[in-house]
């Protein structure tokens, strides 16, 4: 069967499945729409959280990124998994006990203030919009590469699907489609990884394979270290970033993960506190399968790539090279006109430019795997992008219909009216996300890093202190959130967009990159909050009682 046919078949079947699930799990109430009726089982919620969390970036870009960064890529691996330990131990059980619908709900109630609620809504909206634009772009990319349709058509098809199940099913529909999407994406990610691991090392478990010997009896990592240094790159297993920066970026990603609203709300969907803990464990287990495989793929792909192209005659290169050259993501320029590919670290002499996003997608072709594996990968990438987009859209729609309309603008709105607003805002959120997918702001990558920094600098301290520090009051929390947020925005715009006089790497404060600055801004948030709260009044008695209540997982 031809590749095109396989791809249409795989995507057709998976999309039909998602739509079927959406019809079966329509939302009947606002509770269904926001938190799936709080009746999701911990394992299902773990899978849904994993799909929600692993975006097009995790699926398509991360392994490629690591394959070019080597050890430095560990910041993503530890950062995007370690956050779940914080979530499980410091946030999820207590927020579940609190038992409302959204993160601004918690901030607004705990800090007895609509100002706090609005600050939280703004943070949630900024974070979610930046993210969702990236996902829609991912959907468009997959469609355009594999179905040979225009990127924009791809974005519109993706929008239509998400629209259908997010607007119809709300959180309930999203949850059960995410369970299906997790299964599709993990299968799609693992199958090529296992094939390639067997091909290169004889070991079917990629996690062990990349620490094993290749067919020449040499350890794969030693070989890759040698190849890398030979071509002038840094040794693969050691990095080029400073230790302090690696530390700060890892911390910012961990804390940012724990502060992302679309991840946090997933823990509102289970029945009880002990289920919230369990689903965090399942979620990390399901995420860990992909995250421990990604560094293996990175090593296989990098070694394979260097061995296939370096110092080879351009005319003799295999067919996949041609295919990807057509997309413009792989370019070759014969600078010294010898007809041979020189792939080197030195930009003056290097003749090959590789977009890191293609490493995962091209991998099955490089390893000469059968067509159905390539088709599976396309369906998996779409599952990853769609599931994350849907989770984010729900946060956007509930921020508007619940946190703004129900809680601030019109508290007397009926349940039915709120549900209508929820669906309308979901609809507009999808349309806006699609718009950003078709006309992506040039700074998407920069803004995604900003989203983590913002979550770390704003939400995380406010929620953690809301639970663990009874004395924390609204003045402290609001001043901390606002300071953290502004400081983060200032640093990012200064060093990413050149505002406020701009600056280069030498001007970084303490040598911390903008990606790692979230950690710094978070610390400032903590310090400001604690200082301000010492000089202002203790929170009211009923708030102190609320804090005591959420610490104990009883049901009454």
């Amino acid at each position: 069967m031809s590749l095109q046919l396989w791809i249409w078949l795989m995507i057709g079947i998976t999309f039909a499945l998602y739509i079927g699930i959406a019809i079966w799990s329509r939302a009947g109430s606002t509770k269904d729409f926001y938190v799936a009726g709080s009746g999701v089982s911990p394992i299902a919620n773990g899978m849904a959280t994993a799909a929600d969390w692993m975006s097009a970036a995790s699926f398509i870009s991360m392994a490629g990124l690591i394959s070019f960064m080597g050890y430095d890529g560990s910041v993503f691996l530890m950062g995007w998994t370690g956050g779940y330990v914080l979530l499980a131990l410091l946030l999820a059980p207590y927020l579940r006990k609190f038992g409302k619908f959204t993160v601004p709900d918690f901030i607004g109630d705990r800090y007895y203030s609509d100002t706090a609620r609005i600050v939280a809504v703004i943070c949630a909206l900024i974070i979610s919009f930046t993210y969702v634009a990236g996902q829609m772009r991912g959907v468009g990319l997959v469609f355009s590469r594999y179905l040979e349709v225009d990127i924009n058509t791809g974005v519109i098809i993706g929008m239509a699907i998400v629209l259908f199940y997010a607007v119809l099913g709300g959180m309930k529909g999203i949850t059960y489609t995410q369970v299906a999407q997790y299964c599709v994406l993990i299968f799609a990610f693992m199958v090529p990884a296992i094939f390639i691991s067997i091909q290169m090392t004889g070991n079917p478990i990629p996690q062990l394979g990349f620490g094993s010997q290749g067919h020449d009896g040499m350890y794969l990592l030693d070989k890759l270290d040698g190849l890398s240094t030979e071509l002038g790159f840094h040794e693969y297993t050691s990095g080029s970033k400073s230790m302090l920066d690696v530390f700060f970026i890892t911390a910012a990603l961990m804390v940012g993960t724990a502060g992302l609203p679309h991840v946090i709300v997933r823990f509102f969907t289970v029945k009880k506190v002990s289920d919230a803990r369990k689903s965090a464990g399942w979620a990390l287990l399901f995420i860990g399968i992909l995250y421990t495989t990604a560094p293996a793929i990175a090593v296989f792909a990098r070694t394979n790539l260097i061995e296939t192209v370096s110092e080879k005659r351009y005319d003799d290169l295999p067919g996949w090279f041609d295919n990807w050259e057509k997309t413009g993501l792989l370019t070759f320029e014969d600078k010294n006109k010898d007809g041979i590919v020189q792939y080197l670290a030195d930009p003056q002499l290097n003749e090959l430019n590789i977009d890191r996003d293609i490493m995962v997608m091209a991998n099955p072709e490089i390893a000469e795997l059968p067509n159905w594996v390539i088709a599976l990968l396309a369906a998996g990438a779409l599952a990853a992008a769609l599931s994350t987009a849907a989770g984010l859209l729900l946060v956007i729609s509930s921020s508007i219909s619940h946190d703004l309309i129900k809680k601030i603008i019109n508290p007397n709105i009926s349940e039915k009216g709120e549900l209508i607003y929820a669906r309308i805002s979901a609809f507009f959120a999808v349309v806006m996300a699609g718009y950003f997918g078709i006309n992506p702001p040039g700074f998407v990558a920069a803004v995604v890093a900003l989203a983590f920094g913002l979550a770390a600098a704003s939400f995380f301290p406010a929620i953690v202190m809301g639970i663990f520090y009874k004395r924390m009051n609204k003045e402290g929390a609001i001043s901390g959130m606002v300071t953290g947020l502004l400081l983060m925005l200032f640093y990012m715009t200064k060093f990413k967009f050149g505002w406020f006089g701009g600056g280069s790497q030498e001007d970084w404060w303490f040598g911390v990159s903008p990606e790692g600055f979230g950690t710094f801004a978070m610390l400032v948030n903590f310090i400001v909050s604690i200082t301000v709260c010492q000089f202002t009044s203790v929170p009211p008695k009923e708030i102190q009682e609320l804090v005591e209540k959420i610490r104990i997982p009883t049901t009454e």
């Binding site: 690591i66 050890y71 890529g73 560990s74 691996l77 530890m78 998994t81 370690g82 779940y84 330990v85 499980a88 131990l89 410091l90 059980p93 996690q207 062990l208 990349f210 620490g211 094993s212 010997q213 350890y219 794969l220 990592l221 030693d222 297993t237 050691s238 230790m243 690696v246 530390f247 890892t250 911390a251 961990m254 002990s274 803990r277 369990k278 965090a280 464990g281 990390l284 287990l285 860990g288 995250y291 421990t292 560094p295 005591e548 610490r551 104990i552 997982p553 009883t554 049901t555």
Partner: protein
Amino acid sequence: MNKKLAQKYWKENLKYLIILLSIWFTVSFGFGILLVDELNQFKIGGFKLGFWFAQQGSIYVFIILIFVYIFLMNRLDKKFNLK
């Protein structure tokens, strides 16, 4: 639940958190970042040890930590008759 018992429960909970988070910090920030060069002198199979912690080991430990936490808290809930 009365106030005294609630405080006792909370103290136990905090003790677990401190122990588990210390391990969390040690395997990731400790072994994977601060001590990476020292640990890289040792090898398990083809992996340098520090590199392995940064890209594999820390994630396995994270997963185990959460399941240990689930176990400990379920036991604690039982001890305090919380359902």
